[in-house]
């Protein structure tokens, strides 16, 4: 059996770890709240944009982003986190992304976040572009990335663009980014005037739509990462609590055993002297 002092040392270590976990949980909950707010802040814009696209694509206006082609080259955009200690957040995402990539031929990846970038680089995936580390997402970064993707799609370098990320709810999803699928549920107000004309509007609209979709996906992924970390850290501190209870029990037992041992010694010695 371990000595009393060893057990005491162990208890102290576990308690320290528990404190770190608690601190990380607190920090992550604050970050979670902030990142959820950022996701919500983009909603009015995205919804309004979607509304216009619905009406426009119901008409005859066309744009390269809306045209589906025979798929020869695909690119998969994967969004992970920069850091670990978030439970299965990164592992789940990388597993699903690898599966998506695995069932396609002629495929490249664009990786956002350090975890997936490292994982894909290690496995010799064809990584076309990466944002790593991603840090705090800036609209400008992802607007530029969306423009880059859109341009390559329009020039026929890629025939299909997929997006793999985690939603705020925590589910890993695969979405088609390009060609843009017109949202359902069209609401038409008779004849709409387009100033200057439908094609010019689409030309301006679709790149912006792409930018916001990519940016919102990144923001959702960040919020999901914080949520996953909050859950992981609260589980970890619960486990630490359990471990402390168990160790305290062991400690008390071993202390009692030591006392009993000493008492028997004393009693034994006393009766020997008599």
């Amino acid at each position: 059996m371990e000595s009393t002092r060893d057990i005491q040392r162990k208890i102290r270590t576990v308690r320290n770890i528990q404190q770190i976990c608690r601190a990380m949980k607190t920090v992550s909950s604050i970050k979670l709240r902030k990142s959820e707010e950022r996701v919500r802040a983009t909603e009015p814009y995205t919804n309004a944009l979607r509304g216009i696209i619905q009406r426009l694509s119901a008409g005859e206006a066309s744009h390269p982003y809306l045209e589906a082609r025979d798929v020869r080259h695909t690119v998969v955009v994967v969004i992970s986190g920069d850091k670990g200690l978030a439970g299965s957040y990164n592992a789940n995402l990388i597993r699903q992304a690898a599966r998506e990539v695995g069932r396609l031929s002629n495929v490249e990846a664009i990786t956002i976040g350090r975890k997936v970038t490292d994982a894909f680089t290690r496995t010799d995936m064809a990584v076309n572009y990466s944002v790593s580390p991603m840090g705090t997402p800036e609209f400008r970064t992802y607007a530029a990335l969306a423009d880059y993707i859109g341009e390559r799609y329009a020039h026929g370098v890629w025939d299909r663009v997929e997006l793999v990320y985690t939603t705020v709810g925590g589910a890993v999803v695969t979405e088609q980014l390009l060609p843009v699928r017109a949202p359902e549920g069209v609401q038409i107000y008779g004849d709409v005037i387009y100033e200057p004309n439908p094609t010019a509007i689409l030309d301006q609209l679709l790149p912006r739509y792409l930018r916001t979709i990519l940016y919102t996906a990144v923001l959702s992924a960040v919020a999901a990462e914080h949520a996953a970390r909050v859950a992981a850290m609260s589980l970890a501190s619960e486990n630490a609590e359990e471990m402390i209870d168990r160790l305290t029990m062991d400690y008390n037992k071993s202390r009692q055993a030591a006392i009993t041992r000493e008492l028997t010694d004393i009693v034994g010695a006393a009766s020997a002297l008599r």
Partner: protein, 138 residues
């Protein structure tokens, strides 16, 4: 007698304005467009300019420096999706002036085509913000 309609101004990551208005004037690419309640459905691309909203309540007009984006008009509602949108009263004049100087310098230095286009756009935005901020309120 003026009839109010709902106006919402949103930028990519925040809501700039939401309220009732009796009229608004927006900088479309082909020139300023005025909107009243009951306007025919219209989708217009926006240029860099000043958006003026006359609110329904007796309050001073609201001016917003916008650049790029869209205006979606339905008979009882106008949604403006701007690439950037700043209320005139919130513009930091000093920063806008600095931005103008920077853009001018970049134009004078003369670089590649892309840089020139970008600097021109930046200059236009800076001038627009300064104009919005300096305009006297009615």
């Amino acid at each position: 007698m003026a009839f109010p309609f709902e106006v919402e101004v949103v930028a990519v990551d925040h809501k700039v304005f939401l309220g009732q208005a009796v009229s608004l004037v927006a900088p479309a690419v082909d020139g300023y467009v005025g909107v009243l309640r009951g306007h025919a459905p219209l989708v217009a691309a926006l240029a860099t300019g000043i958006l003026t909203i006359t609110p329904a309540e007796k309050r001073p007009v609201i001016e917003v420096a916008v650049s790029g984006g869209f205006m979606d008009v339905t008979p009882d509602r106008v949604t403006i999706l701007a690439d950037t949108a700043e209320l005139a009263e919130e513009i930091d004049l000093e920063r806008a002036r600095q931005a103008r100087v920077r853009a001018e310098q970049r134009l004078l230095a003369g670089a590649s085509d892309i840089d020139i286009t970008r600097a021109q756009a930046a200059l236009l935005r800076a001038i627009n913000r300064i104009r919005a901020a300096e305009q006297p309120r009615m």
